[in-house]
Subunit: 340 residues, 2 copies
Amino acid sequence: MKTTIKDIAKMAKVSTATVSRVINNNPEGVGQELRNNILKIVRETGYKPNLLARSMITNKTHTIGLLSPDIVTPFYQYVIKGINDCLQAAGYTMLLCNVESGAAYREQVETMLAKGTDGIILMGFFGETSQTLAEILTGVPVVLFDYVPRLEQIAQINTNNRASARELTSHLIENGHRRIGCIMGPEQFDTVRERLKGYQKALEDAGIPYNPKIMLNGDFSTDSALEPAARLITETDVSAIFCFNDLMAYGVYKYCAQCGKRIPEDISVAGFDDIPYSELLNPPLTTVRQPGYRLGAESAKMLLEQINGTAEPRMKRILSNTLMIRGSVKNINNRGSVNG
Amino acid sequence: MKTTIKDIAKMAKVSTATVSRVINNNPEGVGQELRNNILKIVRETGYKPNLLARSMITNKTHTIGLLSPDIVTPFYQYVIKGINDCLQAAGYTMLLCNVESGAAYREQVETMLAKGTDGIILMGFFGETSQTLAEILTGVPVVLFDYVPRLEQIAQINTNNRASARELTSHLIENGHRRIGCIMGPEQFDTVRERLKGYQKALEDAGIPYNPKIMLNGDFSTDSALEPAARLITETDVSAIFCFNDLMAYGVYKYCAQCGKRIPEDISVAGFDDIPYSELLNPPLTTVRQPGYRLGAESAKMLLEQINGTAEPRMKRILSNTLMIRGSVKNINNRGSVNG
DNA sequence: CTGTTAGCGCGTTCAC
DNA sequence: GTGAACGCGCTAACAG
């Protein structure tokens, strides 16, 4: 039988109220001597208050929920680690859940709420579902991660996907590439749509017409990029491929290794995220570095600000990315006629 | 104000007990008509029972705790994903925590327990601390992951690290390598000690003396292997390096790229884990594949078996690994005198 | 078939 | 300074 506050009270020959005051460091006076005695008994018995019971009264669980579409993706891992560290430092615990469909998403949010989480972080997915979620989530502290800021009253954090994609694409163009194929991710992701816009804008800047035929989709995994890579390389005349994340760029590397194509001699490749393995590849991958860990830490901080109501909660936050120029893009400016 | 069971009872003009029976699908009869009426009200109000309150009575939270020394390591991620999927299918939620010290470990276990987790999975670390943990954990369903089976009464799961390391080392020896350096992980990990034993056994089998001078340590991260790699390559005459995980093997690749050494021509490299990036490297890494996802799923299943008390809980589980022979190990049997 | 009565373990008014 | 009593939202006997 676990020891409860009653047991302690009985042993100390006081009421539970007094014990409660002591273990909560309640300023209301409790005689110093009595206090020490109770503390001693608490130590000896190893008594730990039942946090469930406490939560029922305080309406705080010191637990927050985190929903992610993919906890295995390296980029998200750093985000999750950032969240974990920030939360842990603040005395919070994290309920983590990998959801792969809109239905699961909603269901998990509901059980998290029913379990009394103090707040929820929703990671990049199901932009559409966010409308219905908004209903369930009224009054609950929420941070949206990697959604485009469309709901003004909800805290949101992300990076400037559009600007970064534009910068990267421009870099490709400066290196002489005019036929740039894309392997995009699932278009439910706001980030995918944003990166696409950035790509299009860069093309527009350079006066290059947009060609939907060289825009293919993967699911953000390495293997999902194999077939698009094959099609782009064998059926079109693109000189560069922009993958909307690093993992899919790895897929292009994999395909090239299988069929003997050389990067960047035969085809240039660029990614997005800059996960740690990208610089290890041969050649190292040119990509956009997203500050995953910081994004996570900031998300958690934003959520905690809402929960504690301390300080003015910052509702919008956009972190900036860095273009990482490495060896997977070839400068083809001086190889004869550059045909647009 | 959130609607409670009382509200529903009032609206349906019944007692809370009746409502409780209905929402719990209690076999005890409730009139069909009444039942439907209550269900209708529940639907209309969007009522969701407060799971905290329920847990106080049932002593079940349907939440399990997971402690990991490093949620960013790719290998662990697959394990975590396996756990997540199994738990989710069974209607459980996961409290995740990344702990980096024995103190944090203990503290987190205690708060998880105080929050009423139904069980806990402890991942590979702090073998020493497990003694003190055993006290706190009496009576609580626990699964130890990647610990060597030293506590008979506690459920444990892992792979045969020793046998796999031995097999890999033998493979190196068969390829003519007699001076095989190691970059080991932190020796608090049971897995590290096991892999070391396997390495030593393979040496012994082949009559090669064990040389502690070529045994260095990293912390399982890529960059931690840089310096050991440099020392092994420049200060010793090893022809192969066995890294105790893939991430550190990447460190050797990184070092070699920096100083122009070629793999496997100048130095052979082998790893452990077989995370997805290893086959993408140039050359692809020879390593031992551990079934991360399955390990995770099995861990969760073992925990659930204890919690539900259904079936005879399997207390020990050892999954087997697979040697993945790829391009990072050179056969040097026929290159002149092989000097032992 | 359904309602009444007790708590689960704790924090929080109030009195004293 | 301290204790008694109440209630958080819910389930589990036990009546009827």
